[in-house]
């Protein structure tokens, strides 16, 4: 229902209570930073883990949603009588059903859409829903609903949405909000000052999140209490929406999402399907499960917008940047969202003169949603290829060009120092590990198989922060329970959190139980998105563990009759620093036994004021291009990332490789195709929409963490990784292909057809 910032809280700054014990930086670690398999690996590989899609409740009904087959249409009539009489059918709802006539899509306190809207603004808009004994019966029933539509003219190309006479998607025109402008200095003077200028227009295509678990929810009512098992990145966000739309106190809404099969941003906001399931569950007094068919997931649950980005960069002969002009166009689909890409050009490199405009337009297509570093991989595709172009024109090594222009501070209106920015180390150490210097010297290939190398840099702009509350409980036998609200969306949240408790309290990992992502039983956390779960929640975990330790030391002090100041905590015992004979194993602390549990609460401290925190990275790759077929083979990829302290090296590697895989999708294989004749998505399936397979990723992957804690940012010294890991990937491949072919291919994805098109245009022989 709500249009919300998915990554941060606007308005009132989060309130952060004082922690019991100061959570300063670790000097050295024994668990944190090691390679640890997931603590819930057993559940995930054995089939024991129950994902929301696996939830089956007694008496449960199955729902299906009827969707508009047209890109733009007005519903004239709807007849559900046949469906209502079909076998197994218990509920049929439309926008006219009492309780289902609900507003949806909010902007600035005003609703501008409905749960079931008579005007369908894109293919797949919700028209009606059915709950039946089995899913197939529900599908049979929605097919028997008779709908009469008046088809309306539509526009699906973002570059045509602003043309005079273009079909209007939303009242008020097809510009989705005022274009966002970033400006500093004087770009005209900057370009006048430049010795060399490069200018080109780049294009990326629309990418679909496509998490492996479809979108869906199971809803159950008990009187006026609602429980939802939801495949979501944020249980508290879903709780808030459900409590609003059903006018329930938050305490009457429980949302559970222990396991969830991926989101990448598509599962940050509450889905219509969750509310529709809840409406039908209330009508039938039975639990209702709705999981969307894959085709619907592809068409309506979100996407990374395609973008057209015009970029112009000027530089002095020595390589110093003098100006950047940037103009980006993208579509949010039929409902409001920002399709901007301007951040990276504005902040990655030090440049005094900047003018950047982001324009977002409405089209008759599925709504865009934040997708893994929204806007930034597209931005890298343009900026980082333009930087390579510039280096070529300057006859400089592209690595040297970047190193001499690194941002020295965050160039916001009031410039702010970075708490840390190890991009120099990412580039230099990454280049060394990759063997960049030797690789670029390689002689061009004679035959039709051309090898090339390339790299790109990236930066991410959501640091994370409060609020986050975590509870750690130590049981009398010395084992522990960790209670936190964050969703583990695949990033190993439970595991790194347990590692922090193990590090701090000395409890072995296999004696730590983690309870999470349940609004009724776990502590508040913001949604897992924005690469901010580690930097937001890990300091709260540390503070909770420190609180337990603090209490244990105090109880030990009384028992040992030694002043607290003289006691140290090591090897799961409290020991006098002056007299090592005076020692008490934790499990022999009397108060622990008498209470049965010692509980510590930890809060996320506020971020430092007047500074800015950016995870950064650089990725290098080597590719082979077949100039006859236009096919690309990716030989190797190396990711060098500064995300502050590394908590779990095994998971860190996995995140970097996974980010690269998704970046390969954006750069090489993935593209939503909308049919211009009908406005319909023609590849809403995994056969025609090419998520990279094991054969499409690189032959070898290497991960090089720049493991330097950012202790000025938070107590664990951590920054985010999940999104930064996919930012430079496509651009690095673009540069490698340009290196291989000697021509710049400005359009992603680098499909054989696109590569051949550019080779043909350049007059290059096959």
């Amino acid at each position: 229902m709500t249009e919300r910032h998915d990554y941060h809280v606007d308005g009132t700054p989060p309130e952060t209570p004082e922690n019991d014990a100061a959570a300063g930086a670790w000097a050295e670690t024994t668990v944190v930073g090691t390679r640890q398999p997931k603590i819930d690996g057993y559940e995930r590989v054995s089939g024991a883990a129950v994902y929301p899609h696996d939830v089956s409740l007694p008496d449960m009904l199955h729902g299906a949603i009827l969707r508009c087959p047209h890109a733009h249409a007005r519903m004239l009539s709807i007849d559900t009588s046949a469906a209502e009489g079909m076998p197994g059918v218990h509920a049929v709802i439309t926008g006219k059903t009492p309780g289902a006539d609900m507003p949806w899509y909010e902007r600035g306190g005003q609703f501008y859409g409905k749960l079931f809207d008579d005007t369908c603004r894109h293919e797949g808009e919700e028209v009606a829903a059915v709950a039946a004994d089995t899913f197939l019966q529900a599908v049979d029933a929605i097919r028997a609903i008779d709908v009469e539509y008046e088809e309306l003219p539509f526009v699906v190309d973002d570059d045509k949405a602003l043309e005079p006479g273009a079909p209007v998607v939303q009242d008020g025109g097809n510009t989705a909000g005022e274009p966002q402008v970033r400006a500093r200095g004087d770009v005209e003077a900057g370009f006048a000052d430049a010795d060399v200028v490069v200018e080109r227009t780049y294009r990326t295509e629309c990418q679909i999140h496509a998490p492996m678990e479809p979108h869906g929810s199971v809803a159950r009512w008990d009187g006026n209490k609602l429980t939802a098992w939801d495949s979501t990145q944020g249980v508290f966000s879903v709780q808030e929406t459900l409590s609003k739309v059903f006018s329930l106190p938050m305490s009457n809404v429980r949302v559970i999402g222990h396991y969830m099969g991926g989101g990448f941003g598509a599962k940050l906001e509450t889905g219509k399907y969750t509310v529709i399931a809840a409406i039908m569950a209330r009508m039938t007094a039975r639990p209702v499960k709705i999981f969307l068919p894959r085709e619907d997931c592809m068409a309506v649950t979100g996407n990374r917008p395609g973008n057209t980005m015009k970029i112009k960069i000027g530089a002095k002969k020595d390589g110093t940047l003098t100006a950047i002009e940037y103009d980006s166009l993208g579509t949010c689909g039929a409902y409001r969202y920002g399709a901007g890409t301007g951040t990276l050009s504005a902040y990655l490199y030090q440049v005094a003169n900047l003018h950047s405009v982001d324009t977002t337009v409405y089209t008759n297509a599925g709504k865009a949603r934040p997708m893994r570093a929204p806007g930034v991989p597209q931005a890298a595709w343009s900026l980082e290829q333009a930087m390579d172009d510039l280096a070529k024109k300057l006859e400089m090594d592209p690595l040297e060009l970047r190193l001499m222009n690194l941002a020295t501070d965050m160039q916001t209106e009031q410039p702010m120092p970075f708490t840390s920015n190890q991009l120099r180390a990412c580039l230099e150490e990454g280049a060394a590990a990759f063997g960049w210097a030797e690789a670029v010297k390689r002689e061009p290939d004679e035959g039709h198989i051309k090898r090339g190398v390339g790299f790109a840099a990236g930066m991410w702009f959501y640091p994370g922060g409060p609020p986050s509350t975590v509870i750690v409980k130590l049981y009398s036998d010395g084992s522990a329970n960790l209670n936190m609200g964050a969703s583990d969306i695949g990033c190993g949240t439970k595991t790194w959190a347990a590692m922090i408790v193990a590090e701090e309290l000395g409890v072995p990992l296999d004696r730590i139980q983690v309870e999470h992502a349940d609004t009724a039983t776990t502590q508040y956390a913001t949604s897992s998105g924005g690469s901010k779960t580690v930097p937001s929640d890990s300091p709260a975990v540390l503070a909770a563990a420190r609180s337990v330790k603090h209490q244990l030391v105090h109880f030990a002090a009384e028992q040992l009759e030694v002043p607290v100041e003289d006691l140290g905590y090591a090897d799961f015992a409290v020991t006098s620093r002056l007299d090592p004979e005076k020692t008490l194993p934790v499990t022999e602390i009397g108060m622990l036994g008498r209470r049965g549990v010692i509980m510590g609460t930890g809060y996320r401290d506020p971020n430092p004021e007047g500074t800015f925190t950016v995870p950064v990275g650089a990725q290098f790759c080597e590719v082979e291009v077949n100039t006859r077929t236009g096919e690309i083979k990716i030989l190797r990829f190396l990711g060098a990332h500064d995300s502050g302290r590394v908590l779990n090296r095994l998971t860190f590697d996995n995140q970097v490789f996974g980010g690269i895989a998704m970046g390969i999708g954006l750069g090489v294989t993935e593209e939503r195709v909308l049919d211009r004749q009908t406005g319909k998505m023609v590849n809403a399936n995994f056969h025609d929409y090419k998520v990279p397979t094991m054969l499409d990723v690189a032959d070898t992957h290497e991960c090089l963490p720049i493991d330097i804690p950012d202790n000025d940012f938070n107590s664990t010294g951590t920054k985010g990784l999940g999104e930064p890991a996919t930012i430079p990937t496509a651009a690095a491949m673009g540069n490698a292909v340009a290196n291989a072919l000697g021509i710049r291919i400005t359009d992603a994805p680098l499909t054989p057809r696109t590569i051949r098109r550019f080779l043909d245009a350049a007059g290059k022989e096959a």
């Binding site: 057993y42 994902y51 097919r143 709908v147 999140h209 995994f686 094991m694």
Partner: protein, 209 residues
């Protein structure tokens, strides 16, 4: 503007059960028609009275069901037997989340009708456990962190198991080709390859299992 009706009422001369069964050779298309919008002809709603008995040997145990002929093996496993390790990702034979072994061969349970699976040995990810102990492929997946969200993982594990049963010492290339029918959107591919290579080595040297 043109007015259009959206209705897919079953044709009056719809499929008979016999006729429908006659088309299961094109099982994939028939099943996909149940859930996709691409259907050209929609079979008549199967009369629940006309359910068919089927006996399926799943993880070594024989189970008897009365099924609608259109029910898939995936549906039986998840919705009737209640073992949900086998995941539903696309239900159209494209993602591999529902991979099971049918007579030792990896197969998509979403494209296998329950009736087709009669008489075969069906093994799901749960069937690879030895009591409560993980099997060697499962253990390797944990140790090599060959997963992120874990939703595709049961399918990946079963696909790897099937590959290794057919070819105990696959090359890395054979692993990539053999498992390219299993999508992992989190992109844990490198770690999956590492895990399978480790098990393959172990089996060669008579190690883990």
């Amino acid at each position: 503007m043109a007015k259009k009706r959206q209705s897919q009422k079953p044709p009056a001369d719809g499929f008979t059960r016999r006729g429908f069964l006659g088309t299961v050779g094109a099982g994939a298309a028939a099943v996909a028609a149940g859930v996709s919008k691409r259907a050209e002809a929609v079979p008549e709603i199967t009369d629940p009275e006309e359910m068919v008995p089927v006996a399926l040997k799943i993880n070594g145990q024989l189970h008897r069901f009365l099924v609608e002929p259109r029910w898939t093996l995936l549906f039986i496993l998840r919705e009737r037997l209640g073992i949900t390790g086998t995941k539903a990702g696309c239900e159209r034979g494209e993602c591999g989340s529902c991979t099971v072994l049918i007579d030792d061969k990896p197969r998509y349970a979403c494209l296998t009708l329950a009736l087709e699976a009669e008489g075969s040995e069906i093994t799901t990810v749960e069937g690879l456990l030895e009591g409560e102990q993980l099997g060697p492929v499962q253990q390797a997946f944990v140790e090599h962190d060959a997963l992120q969200c874990g939703y595709c993982t049961p399918g990946q594990v079963v696909a790897a198991e099937g590959l290794l049963r057919a070819n105990p010492s696959p090359t890395e290339r054979e692993i990539r080709v053999g498992m390219s029918g299993n999508l992992c959107r989190c992109g844990a591919y490198q770690h999956i390859v590492n895990a399978v290579v480790a098990v393959a080595d172990n089996e060669e040297s008579g190690g883990a299992s």
